[in-house]
Amino acid sequence: MTQSTPSDYREASARSLRDTPSVRTSVGSATRTFDAHRVSAFSEVEYDRWKDWARDTKTHALTHLDTYLAQASAQLEARGVHVHWAETAEDALSVLDEVVERHGIKSAVKGKSMLTEELEVNAHLETLGVRPIETDLGEYIIQLLGEPPSHIVGPAIHKSLDDCRALFHDRLGTPLDADPDTLAAAARDALRAEFLAAGLGISGGNFLAADTGTIALIENEGNIRLATSVPDVHVAFVGIEKIVPRFEDLAGFLQITARSATGQAIGLFVSLIQGPRTPSEIDGPKEVHVVLVDNGRTRLLADDTAWEALRCVRCGACLNICPVYRQTGGHAYGWTYSGPLGAIISPGMLGLEKAMPLPHASSLCGACVDVCPVRIPIPDILLHWREKAVDAGLAPTGETFGSKAYAGLAERPASFAAANAALRWTPWRAAGRALPILKGWMQERSAPTPSKKSFRQMWKEGIE
């Protein structure tokens, strides 16, 4: 599969709907299930109170980010962790070069991590002669297929059971009608051997507690616990925005993230990692590296509206509720982070020119802001990027032309009335399809027929 970029969004989304209708079915079903679980999980708790707490704690952490990062780094080093600071993806990846060479690493087992997708860790490992093995079942499936994840929590939700049966039959020799338990057992056996053989375990980090230097990881399969416990070396890539001030704050974030993502009280396995094994421990990695990654995050932090997106805990609730995401799944967005989340962070992290037209991949319905556990004002940030795009001359030409034409007309009452009348009497369904600007828009939409009388006319005649 060829990798698309955000600028391909219009074509990629149309292609997904036209060529792979099963993606829409699978994604729709999975996201509705995720969302139903979320609704049920929050019906039993004081959701509003804890959303406020989570928002305020993250905002506090971001406005003191320099202090907390320095504190976390000092704590980690005191526990014998090698701390690396990476301004770019290249900086982050170079940490692996030294580790791979010094330990003679041949294969690496990975826990699911969106940051390692963003950095393209797997491709880099291959250039070093290291075989990367994704161990989360969903990530394993898409790695076999050579595809990127399509959802930040369920990376393979765009694949149906039959897709998986065919894939496992081909690659692991399971029967074509195998049940999910048989398929999972085959993957478990294949991956268990990899866990025991790998010299390196790679993970991301859901949170980093500043006062103890603890890396917190949430999962359900146990593969992250294995990847961070069995190999002799563990490298964790952690975005600098993952900081929370205190170890005890993890109590709130572990629970609100699990309830928002899958409707669980907590992930079935949580790892709280402080460093390499101590003398009183019989196993666990002997060497731990933590790579603190910027790669565009400080650029996003510098934006006075969009910086609030850095509160994100990557639960995926905004993807699950989004009527636009549900149609195409994540691949159409052309970047690691898709859905409403991807649309608000990509312009800040990649630059607006590379991220367009993702801020337009939304109807601004606002469902996302209602489900966000850290109250990120997603529609406001989408509008902010659209305005910036107009200022920078990056908005779709039709929209820029339309806005300017409207502004011109609105300043001239006689012209405004004339244009108004013209629009009401134009056979615009036919005319619209002939126009380059409206053609694409009208292919997917219908609109009510305009009234024959204008509002101004009705006002003059007296509205009841």
Partner: protein, 200 residues
């Protein structure tokens, strides 16, 4: 390295300049506000069983040893956590965690709020993770009401890693169908040495 660190911290300070620093909102209590009628032990059992964990009550270490001897019969070997009392070891050959079908670990405690067992790295991480069946010994006096309460205590004595295990390993990544025992143990039992509580 330090130059990159300095550059990142400088960019953060620059981005935050002109932004009013906000206060930490204070403590995260517990999800439900109050524990309700359930005792911490009752709440733990209900949460743990609710996601597929199994709970066994025995009223003494002798009974625990008898229960384990009986439970271990179908297994060919066992791996045992460092903190497990020698009185509890069943009469089975000891195997490496990677080869054993059964593990017995000692929990550092449990959390009522989320139905979680608190596993300490000093007990042995491979034993906690590699076998298909995992029996975890738990003393009922070591049950915290909330995750926050547990973390506050744990912070005073942190090993290299803590694991919170809240049920059998699961995944719904294959066609959104739930399967058990994907990587971690597919069967997990809390063996609680103490009196069974009444149902709340």
């Amino acid at each position: 390295m330090s130059t990159k660190r300095d550059a990142i911290l400088a960019r953060i300070r620059d981005a935050n300049s002109g932004r009013t620093p906000t206060d930490h909102p204070g403590d995260f209590g517990g999800w439900r506000g109050d524990a309700g009628p359930a005792t911490p032990l009752q709440a733990f059992v209900s949460g743990f069983e609710g996601v597929g964990g199994e709970v066994v009550f025995v009223d003494s270490e002798v009974k625990a040893s008898q229960w384990l001897a009986d439970f271990a019969k179908p297994f060919t070997s066992v791996t045992i956590g460092e903190g497990v009392s020698s009185a509890l070891r069943p009469d089975l050959p000891i195997a490496l965690p990677r080869n054993a079908p059964l593990a017995i670990s000692q929990a550092r405690g449990a959390i009522a709020e989320t139905g979680s067992l608190v596993m300490d790295a000093r007990d042995g991480r491979r034993t906690q993770l590699l076998t298909p069946t995992h029996v975890v010994v738990l003393s009922p006096e070591n049950i915290w009401e909330t995750v926050r309460g547990a973390l506050l205590t744990l912070a005073d004595d942190l090993p290299a890693a803590i694991g919170l295990h809240s049920g059998p390993s699961k995944s719904a990544d294959i066609g959104q169908v739930m399967v058990k025992g994907v990587h971690g143990p597919g069967r997990i039992l809390a063996l609680i040495i103490g009196c069974a509580p009444e149902k709340p």
